[in-house]
């Protein structure tokens, strides 16, 4: 127990003392097995009744009516549990973790962890959404198509682009979709083979480099200039007749907006390439700047970031791509089109890159985003951006008052919606590293994310407060960081040996780099660690 905690406990002699600040969070521990390990052969959550005699008399065995191809020869390898055990399992897991509905979740910078209004969940769970099937005839889901058609137009208006597609599964999927359209566009002009390079920046989302590489491109990364802006001379050195496109995030993950973005686009256009705007960081520019107005040919949105749909622990999110008129023929198919008889899906698009996802997007998340935008309206969207920027700069001010932390680049300037801070001074003074501080923050009920790799900003910490958090939330969060920094200077071991109130101590990250060790599915775990097929 720290001295602060003791003081708080002993204070006032009241039967219930005032709650200490920062709060002393303690993670729950249920020692909960993996759900597969809980499986009991034969256990069932739902036992559907047999068909009633009248039905059987009329149609025979309904199962016999199923086409032969859709039956499984063997049961799927799923865990067998009762409903109660499933509910208990997931409730226990939810108690062992943190999340946007539980803590001040602004430490997950670049992820835009905003509150998802619960009324939007009600809409997504509406049987007219939840109980429809992707293969239903379009004439039976006109309402869903109408919602998507309108959402497309809203995102077109927000980005200034001519046409939107909601099919991508999430952000990286959307970037890959854009890269595929870029390639199709160059191929249609006969220089697809020649243009084999994609340019990005080190502070853009790494998904840009990753998606381009997966699509077969050679990736050229630009470092920032000394002010932290993407280096325009480096761009000039990088472009050539091999340039297919520039994929760039703006503001970048430093929270710095590139004021020469139009020049960047111009240089790439002059070299014959296309410019694609990663709008994962759009939360601070909604209603203020537009991708098309800066000359971009394509852009994408993360519906689960900017437009409030939940991230859902890595999925499903939802992505949207938006393109200028010249690229419309290459959009994934089918597109939603309007005829006199109603909305229909147009599969007859010969230049399309094809499908990037089964059917047409992550419908429940599109419903949430549609409801969110409709609730806010155009003015409300701009207010979201302005509040997010205000929150971020309020937090910036508070954090910079803490000893040992700095905000490299653009010193003395404001940022857009996030900041990549550096604990370099504190690490130098105390031997406590940024990772240690993030782990110690967990003892106070929050955490933060450092940065993508490599750490261009040393000892990084990336905070993005969005518009969801109150001034009291921001004060509490900054107070936690201040407390951990104070500890680092006065009692570094308290930080270096953290977490003290979590149920699992630090884990080695080595396994994440080692394909022989990592296991992201039960099947992989069985194969790699239990030696079972």
């Amino acid at each position: 127990m720290s001295s602060t905690e003791k003081a708080a406990t002993q204070s006032a002699g009241l039967p219930v003392g005032p709650k200490p600040r920062p709060r002393r969070y303690h993670q729950a521990s249920w020692d909960e097995p993996i759900i597969f390990e809980l499986s009991v052969t034969g256990a069932r959550g739902v036992l559907p009744p047999p068909p009633e005699p009248g039905v059987t008399a009329l149609v025979g065995d309904p199962a016999a009516e199923l086409p032969a191809g859709i039956g499984r020869a063997e049961l799927p390898a799923l865990p067998e549990l009762s409903q109660l055990h499933v509910v208990r399992h997931f409730d226990r897991l939810s108690q062992e973790t943190l999340g946007v509905d539980l803590n001040i979740d602004i430490g997950q910078g670049t992820c835009t962890m905003k509150y998802s209004p619960k009324v939007n969940d009600q809409l997504a769970r509406d049987p007219r959404v939840a109980d429809t099937h992707p293969l239903q005839d379009p004439c039976t889901v006109q309402g869903t198509l109408e919602m998507m058609w309108r959402l497309e137009r809203m995102l077109a208006e927000i980005s200034g682009m001519d046409r939107v597609c909601l099919q991508p599964a999430a952000g990286s999927s959307a970037i890959w979709t854009n890269v595929a359209m870029i390639r199709a566009w160059h191929e249609s002009r006969g220089d697809g083979d020649q243009r084999d390079e994609v340019i990005t920046t080190i502070f853009s989302h790494p998904s840009n480099a990753a998606a381009a590489k997966v699509a077969g491109y050679r990736v050229i990364t630009l470092y920032p200039d000394s002010d932290g802006y993407p280096d325009i001379d480096a761009l000039r050195a990088a472009v050539s007749e091999r340039t297919a496109a520039l994929l760039i995030t703006n503001p970048e993950d430093t929270g710095i907006f590139n004021p020469r973005i139009e020049e960047f686009v111009g240089i790439v256009h002059e070299a014959g390439g296309l410019a694609s705007y990663d709008q994962a960081n759009a939360n601070g520019i909604l209603g203020i700047t537009r991708a098309r107005d800066a000359g971009f040919d394509l852009c994408h949105f993360n519906i689960h970031k900017t437009f409030s749909a939940p991230h859902a622990c890595g999925g499903p999110g939802a992505g949207a791509v938006a393109v200028s008129a010249a690229l419309v023929p290459f959009l994934p198919r089918p597109t939603i089109e309007r005829a006199e008889s109603g909305l229909y899906l147009d599969h007859d698009r010969p230049l399309s890159i094809g499908k990037v996802r089964p059917w047409y997007g992550v419908t429940p998340n599109l419903v949430r985003a549609y409801a969110w935008i409709m609730n806010l309206g155009a003015e409300g969207l701009r207010q979201v951006a302005e509040t997010a920027v205000l929150n971020n700069n309020y937090l910036l001010q508070k954090v910079l008052e803490i000893r040992g932390v700095s905000a490299p680049y653009a010193v003395g300037r404001r940022r857009i919606e996030q900041v990549r801070y550096s604990w370099e001074e504190l690490a130098h003074d105390t031997g406590v590293h940024s990772e240690d501080i993030g782990v110690r923050a967990a003892d106070f009920g929050t955490h933060y994310w450092t940065s993508h790799h490599p750490y261009v900003v040393p000892e990084p910490m990336t905070l993005e407060p969005t518009e969801s958090y109150s001034r009291e939330d921001l004060d509490e969060y900054a107070g936690i960081l201040a407390e951990v920094a104070r500890e680092a200077y006065q009692d570094p071991n308290a930080v270096l040996t953290a977490p003290h109130r979590s149920t699992i101590h630090r884990t080695s990250q080595e396994s994440l780099d080692d394909p022989a060790q990592w296991a992201i599915t039960w099947r992989a775990y069985r194969r790699k660690h239990l030696g079972k097929s």
Binding site: Y223, G431, E435, P454, E510
Partner: protein, 416 residues
């Protein structure tokens, strides 16, 4: 590159894995730790002498009122080690050099060391460090701890058997080498977890030993050279500090670079491979031996066979080798300074660079570096100091650095 039982092993690794394996077999239940302290390490720093190499410098520093700090720093490491050691386990046997070269620090920290070797008659020097490192190692240790700076690490790499893991306690003025723990206390924790681990589970990775030419450094010239590698313990219990990339991800990045450059090799050209572990990984990928600190020349035959044309060449031989056949230079920035020409690879002299550039243009200079290495430059440009001002000016601008498979980074280069 990781050595040890659970190495990911996507590429064949060099001497490192053999080394760790042999250590694993010699250790017994009783852990044996070696300690050699350079008693005058760091003595020049506080009095502005930019280092402590050479007996004259040490005398000047002492005359200026410098206080040696290596003894207390080594003692701090041992004290932390003792704190981290479980009470119910036998403490490690400590083998130290005598007096100020280890024994004093050990006694300060409450250890009863086994003293190995003898002190010289007069002041200690680098020769004594080298001699006593060899003698302590010969007595059989699981790990050699040494306190000092880059100069001390040079002495250790020169005299320690390659198979023996070593870890530095930072006590010197210049610490460029990656063989040092971040602080004396961290060194103690690292040693405790290394020695406590079952021998088969101890993990080490080769780390570069770099040093500056101190005379040049005092005149304002920064000239880091690569002197070799030491097998250094890798933390596997606590969270990896990701400022330093993990050995596995760094080895993966170097392997990617090796694949990328190897795929681009064409018959009819000579490839001049500069010093550094990134380039040595390329040689490993090509299946040819490579000197770590030397410049080697290879060729590829029409059937894909790679041959070493010349090994550890000097400037004169290199000039004639690149004059005969079109050649490509493959270099990596050395150490934390970011020199791609003129430091650590002076064999590649201005004449050699001009010859290859005249034939093939800028494509004749391939610069390779892992993303983490570029990030470690903290935005400072890469440097060239070939010895030819005009050539340096011509090379300045931006260079396309090979950072992975189908990956390049545009990075600025300036004349140093």
């Amino acid at each position: 590159m990781i050595s040890g039982a659970d190495a990911s092993g996507s590429l064949p690794v060099g001497s490192g894995s053999d080394a760790a394996a042999s250590v694993g077999t010699t250790a017994t239940a009783c852990r044996r730790l070696g300690l050699v302290v350079n008693p005058v390490a760091g003595i020049g720093g506080a009095v502005g002498l930019k280092g402590s190499d050479g007996v004259e410098t040490v005398r000047r520093a002492l005359a200026l009122g410098a206080v040696p700090r290596a003894r207390t720093r080594a003692a701090a490491t041992l004290a932390r080690l003792a704190e981290c050691w479980p009470a119910d386990q036998r403490p490690p046997v400590l083998l130290t050099a005598p007096g100020p070269m280890g024994e004093d620090s050990a006694r300060d920290a409450g250890f009863e060391p086994v003293v190995v070797g003898r002190l010289p008659e007069s002041e200690t020097s680098a020769d004594d460090t080298r001699r006593l490192v060899a003698e302590v190692a010969a007595a059989g240790v699981d790990l050699l701890l040494f306190a000092g700076g880059d100069g001390t690490a040079r002495d250790v790499v020169a005299s320690l058997p390659a198979a023996t893991p070593a870890l530095g306690i930072p006590a010197g003025v210049k610490i460029q080498s990656a063989v040092y723990a971040t602080s004396p206390a961290t060194a103690g924790e690292l040693v405790a977890s290394f020695l406590r681990a079952h021998t088969g589970r101890r993990r080490t990775a080769p780390r570069e030993v770099l040093d500056l030419d101190e005379d040049a450094y005092r005149r304002g010239r920064v000239a880091p050279c690569l002197y070799g590698e030491l097998l250094t313990p890798v933390e596997n219990r606590r969270l990896q500090t990701r400022k330093e990339p993990s050995p596995a991800s760094e080895a993966g990045a170097a392997a990617e670079i090796a694949n990328e450059v190897a795929r681009a090799l064409v018959p009819g050209y000579r490839y001049v491979l500069g010093p550094g572990s990134t380039i040595r990984m390329l040689a490993t990928r090509l299946g040819v031996p490579k000197t770590l600190v030397g410049v080697d020349v290879v060729e590829i035959d029409d059937d894909g066979t790679v041959r070493v044309v010349a090994s550890d060449v000097g400037a004169r031989d290199l000039s004639s080798l690149v004059a005969e056949t079109p050649a490509v230079l493959v270099v990596t920035p050395i150490g934390g300074q970011g020199f791609i020409l003129g430091r650590g690879n002076q064999q590649i002299d201005p004449g050699v660079v001009r010859t290859v550039l005249e034939r093939l243009g800028r494509a004749a200079l391939v610069v390779a570096a892992t993303p983490a290495k570029l990030a470690s430059l903290r935005g400072r440009p890469l440097l060239v100091d070939s010895g030819d001002v005009e050539l340096d000016a011509a090379l300045a601008g931006h260079v396309l650095v090979v950072t992975g498979q189908r990956e390049r980074t545009v990075y600025p280069v300036i004349a140093a």
